[in-house]
Point group: C2
Chain length 304, copies 2
């Protein structure tokens, strides 16, 4: 089963304590696709400008089941983000954001994408996320992401959106900001009361929680010896999570747990190199091994 993702397709320039990358593939849609496509076919909807190196993207994704038919080419510059990480790799410092053609983006879902069983509404204006939902036919699962900017400027729209999604992914600071609850258990409940049956709260290097009405699941981030560039980890997490669900088509609690672990695994690969580089290199065995490593990391036997 395929995953439809609507998100940004951007050009990133990133500086970390370990090096810098200039004008490389970035954006939530790009990371999500690079990640999810290891597990299921991906349909990407986004927009790029006239300066976008489309051949680089096509080349990067050439051996992947990523359908670019929903990638719109608009007049104007592409979305560009310039950021820096210092010693604390958990905190991105934005040096420059130029929305370019992304600021007028109105997602149009191609006919052949409208029956996608899994839909991920990447971090865009919640009004546009709602518009996407009017264009698709009854998906098996709809998930959305959001960010502080929209929580500040479009809070009411996010709350409307919550009534139309099955699952939301957001980070701990965003969960606290949206709900005004410092405690994540309460924050998750606040969100679930407004619609989603599942809330995934990402804590970066500190792992991720998945809350449902009856249970809480936690998966750690895999402790890597070298984290190179954290950009895109959250989107790669979402890609692994949705990709695994689309691959298996199973929405049971135990399968959702596995999906969170696949998310954590894919997020851990994303940070090992700049841009989507590492996500493009890895093979099915690498993913299996990482999932096993995460299992070993948390596994303990209770006494009888």
């Amino acid at each position: 089963m395929s995953v439809l993702v609507v998100g940004s397709v951007a050009l990133d320039s990133v500086e970390t304590p370990f090096g810098k990358a200039d004008t490389v593939l970035g954006g939530s849609g790009t990371f999500f696709s690079a990640s999810a496509s290891h597990l299921a076919p991906v349909q990407l909807v986004g927009v790029v400008g006239t300066d976008y190196p489309i051949d680089t993207l096509r080349d990067a994704f050439k051996s992947r089941p990523i359908d670019l038919a929903g990638l719109e080419f608009a007049d104007g510059p592409s979305f560009r983000w310039r950021g820096r990480y210092r010693h604390d790799l958990n905190v991105a410092e934005t040096l420059e954001t130029k929305l370019g053609v992304f600021s007028n983006f109105r997602p149009k879902i191609p006919e052949q994408f409208r029956s996608a069983p899994f839909v991920f509404l990447g971090n865009i204006d919640p009004r546009l996320q709602l518009e996407v939902l009017t264009q698709v036919a009854k998906p098996k699962l709809v998930a959305c992401d959001t960010m502080n900017f929209w929580i500040e400027s479009r809070r009411a729209d996010i709350i409307t959106l919550l009534g139309h999604v099955d699952l939301i992914t957001l980070n701990d600071a965003e969960a606290r900001q949206l709900t005004d609850e410092a405690n994540l258990v309460r924050a998750a409940r606040w969100i679930m009361e407004r619609g989603p049956k599942h809330v995934v709260i990402k804590k970066g290097e500190h792992g991720a929680f998945m809350f449902t009405e009856s249970s809480i699941f936690f998966a750690p981030a895999f402790p890597l010896e070298s984290v190179f560039d954290p950009t895109g980890a959250g989107d790669s997490f979402a890609g692994g999570f949705m990709g695994y669900l689309a691959k298996t088509g199973d929405l049971s609690d135990h399968n959702l747990r596995r999906a969170v672990v696949y998310g954590s695994a894919m997020g851990s690969f994303a940070v090992e190199k700049f841009s989507v580089q590492r996500l493009l290199e890895i093979r099915p065995d690498d993913i299996k091994r990482r999932v096993s490593d995460i299992h070993r990391l948390v596994n303990f036997e209770q006494e009888l």
Copy 2:
């Protein structure tokens, strides 16, 4: 088997967003004992001043296997700590520390404590921690804790100490400070190269890692809906960890993992009320249930 703990026995005054407690039982030795004594007999070595409400302590510990024969009474005021937590409960703000008689503390291990198989050197001057080791006979396991103050002022002594302990517990900031490594995997390796076979890095609400030469284990902090007062969580963690090892006498990797989970469970109880209040209320069934809850929290089945 019993656990010998050398640590502070203090009077705390704490303010959190949820209330305040004035001049209540505190100190690393106190929290450790209240926690570990659920699992194994505890021998506490510490010092209090003439103002210390010893009857309150005796009354609190009366139904517990805690031997207070090593509690010294010195002329002068008891160790007092006054602190506050704001919205971010992970960060303690120290308002006042009065070391009192603790500043001249020279631990004297009573004859009948000297053969304790499990020894925990709570967070005191590393020179005194080393002195304690000259007074005990070949324990099965020696663990120590430390803190930023000693890492700054007695770094060389801590490094000497590392050569004489089997395990160290410290928090993530302290691990980074001690090793000058931002990455915790590297920090743990740096420490293991200097002696300890096991390094437990506590991350407060973000859980704890246990590193050994051949494996990494992670246990989350249990996600509570109300964290009331984080004071003593780390010492209660250490108490649960050491208490479980002393109870079982088993130092295999799989048992050490369970010990970390017992640590996490006991830490999660400590923060539910002020001082050692909750640690004194709980019963064996509460602990079992919390350990099961942590198991459920991280448990997932790999695909076949």
